[in-house]
Amino acid sequence: MLEIRNLHASIAGKEILKGIDLSVQAGEVHAVMGPNGSGKSTLAQVLAGHPGYEVTEGSVSYDGRDLLAMDPEVRAQEGIFLAFQYPVEIPGVTNAYFLRSAYNEIRKAKGLEELDPLEFLDLMEEKIKLVDMDPAMLNRSVNTGFSGGEKKRNEILQMAVLSPRLAILDETDSGLDIDALRIVAEGVNKLRQPDNATIVVTHYQRLLNHIIPDQVHVLAAGRIVKSGGKELAFALEEKGYEWVSGGAAATEVAGAGSGAEATA
């Protein structure tokens, strides 16, 4: 479904991603872990098409198409969803209006009929239960005055409504207490389908107790330095990131000739 090859990206002239290779198949859950500043969030933002990042090298193909050539809204219409680490507050636009506009834009792009406000309300009633959210939140301005946990739940609600093929969760666990974490994780698990895939970007292993990954990748200094099964997350929790960061330096030296394949 997603093939990332030798992806380099920079912001304001500073290179953050230095050659990422990652392959995600339908039905899989991948965890991307790494210390602060390793480039995890950059990877998520680049996949969603943040215009602030410049891709300087490499390619990303999504269902065989060039993802990097698509505008952010086209990516969304094609089924990519990024749950933001810091969801944006938009005072003056209600959550319901925002969700319905997004839903209908995506329907329109698929050549489907748009839902009117009443039909949409029925859909919302069903989806809002998934994230255990107060329906009154729908009539409040998008994320405005929401607590950290409410914002994250709102992201999962959007994901539930838009039903993406590839969901990227960027530090969705940060700032959540254990109950909120469980609700968010349950929401994600309920949305898992054989033809969908999920990339969970996280600093900590604890979210992975609830969302079980098929593969775990460790990012350091803009490269994937280690990949493995779910047990890799536990090893990291135990030994800390120094364990792989040291390896990153080693890989950089060792891999100088062979490129990023050293991490495959």
Partner: protein, 453 residues
């Protein structure tokens, strides 16, 4: 921006006074009118007009050297000759297509400043208990007792503003609204529409007299049926009684090549409440003045506004709140959205007299620039001569939040839809303050339709 005050060149043989040509033309038109229709007017009005004409000639059109006009050049108005506008016909269909909202109360319609009985609510349906709404010219004709003499010009004086002076000298008609004490009145609609008015000027003049503890809503709109280059120079005076509550909405969507100067002046005695909302989206060059004097203890005013400009539009809003009496709150919020090469100006002054203790003054002006070339000059001012007051003011100029744009686009909204939605969101809080739901909806739709980027 440099001053574009044009001096007539030597070859034209004109005097080197600024705007001499247009001044002479206004004088010639005034003298012509004085010998035709003015003799039928009461003596006090003839004198009132003559004095106003002299004031205009003494003051001259303002230039950018005037503090109140520092960011706005009126040269496009002052360097041209506009003649008094003639009546024209407008179809009811055209009117309803252009109107901001469907009138749900008595409506008076004026075409090029002339009262149009055909388009207005018939007189017999207009008569509601507690209010009279009529053409000011007719009211002057019927005013044998001379009651209007003490009212017209009591809030808006001609000695300090050339535009008000011109209006006083030339006005043909407008609305007179009288609300009886203790009466509560639904919306009253005043519609001024320009049609086939190339090179013409209309000076609508309105007078609102609200009795003690009366309550009313007035919606004043300015529209254009044709894309002519004309000039509207309106003055509305609002005289409130003790405890009266007036909500006054002024909606300006004049033609794209037109010039609009609109002045509202209110006087507020004890415990009165005056709420003003000014919406501007039309005209090439416009200036809106809202002045209120808080003369009585515990009088309150709320002055809000929203202006939307694009292309080469120039929109200037000036407010002046004069706190004369103690215990008066005044709250102001003006928001502007500027696209293209447009230029917005906000100039808000709150003046607190030494006696006006316990004044609570709040003023803000926020602007959103949608393009690189749009600009805004904003100048909120406080002048405080009392020592026990609470006054704040602030102004912001910003651009669309890139992060918010990306957030919306990442949910499938196109760039242009996202931009529209964020522009709407910017304007939302000032629109949310509109108590009149149909007006709120109408303006929301206009904001959403305006900036398609």
């Amino acid at each position: 921006m440099t001053e574009v005050l044009k001096m007539p060149d030597a070859s034209s043989g004109a005097t080197p006074l600024p705007h001499a040509v247009s001044r002479q033309a206004y004088r010639a038109d005034f003298d012509r009118l004085a010998s035709s229709h003015l003799p039928t007017e009461p003596d006090w009005l003839v004198r009132f007009r003559a004095e106003a004409m002299e004031s205009f000639e003494t003051l001259g059109f303002p230039t950018m050297k005037d503090e109140d006009w520092h960011f706005t050049s009126v040269a496009p108005i002052a360097d041209r000759v506009f003649h008094p506008a003639k009546p024209a016909a407008v179809s009811p269909e055209t009117l309803s297509k252009l109107a901001f909202l469907k009138p749900d109360g008595p409506a008076l319609v004026f075409v090029n400043g002339h009262y149009s009985p055909e388009l207005s609510t018939p007189e017999e349906n207009r008569a509601t208990k507690g209010v009279s709404v009529q053409s000011l010219a007719e009211a002057i004709r019927d005013d044998s007792a001379g009651a209007l003499q003490s009212e017209i010009g009591s809030a808006a004086t001609s000695t300090s503003s050339a535009f008000t002076a011109l209006n006083s000298a030339f006005f043909r008609d407008g609305a007179l609204i009288r609300i009886t004490a203790d009466a509560t009145i639904g919306p009253i609609h005043l519609v001024f529409i320009a049609s086939a008015s190339e090179g013409m000027v209309a000076h609508p003049r309105n007078l609102v007299v609200a009795g003690r503890h009366s309550e009313a809503t007035i919606i004043e709109s300015y529209l254009a049926a044709d894309d002519d280059s004309y000039f509207t120079n309106a003055v509305t005076e609002v005289i409130l009684g003790d405890g009266a509550r007036i909500s006054h909405y002024k909606l300006q969507n004049e033609g794209t090549q037109s010039f609009h100067v609109g002045t509202i002046q209110a006087r507020q005695p004890r415990s009165s409440y005056y709420e003003s909302f000014c919406f501007a989206s039309g005209a090439d060059l416009s200036r809106t003045n809202v002045y209120t004097v808080l003369e009585g203890d515990s009088a309150e005013c709320v002055l809000n506004g929203l202006y939307l400009a694009d292309g080469t539009q120039h929109m200037d809003h000036q407010t002046y709140v004069e706190h004369v009496a103690p215990n008066c709150p005044s709250h102001e919020l003006y928001k502007g959205v500027l696209d293209g090469r447009s230029h917005g100006v906000f100039n808000g002054k709150v003046y607190v007299h030494p006696e006006a203790q316990k004044t609570d003054g709040k003023q803000s002006n926020n602007n959103l620039l949608l393009s690189e070339h749009a600009r805004v000059d904003t100048k909120p001012q406080l002048e405080i001569f009392a020592d026990d007051v609470k006054c704040t003011h602030g102004a912001t100029v910003g651009r669309l939040d890139e992060t918010a744009l990306f957030y919306l686009r990442s949910r499938g909204l196109s760039y242009s839809v996202a931009r529209k939605l964020l522009t709407y969101a910017f304007a939302a809080d000032v629109l949310e303050r509109l108590a009149l739901a149909p007006l709120k909806e109408s303006l929301e739709a206009r904001v959403l339709a305006r900036f398609t980027g």
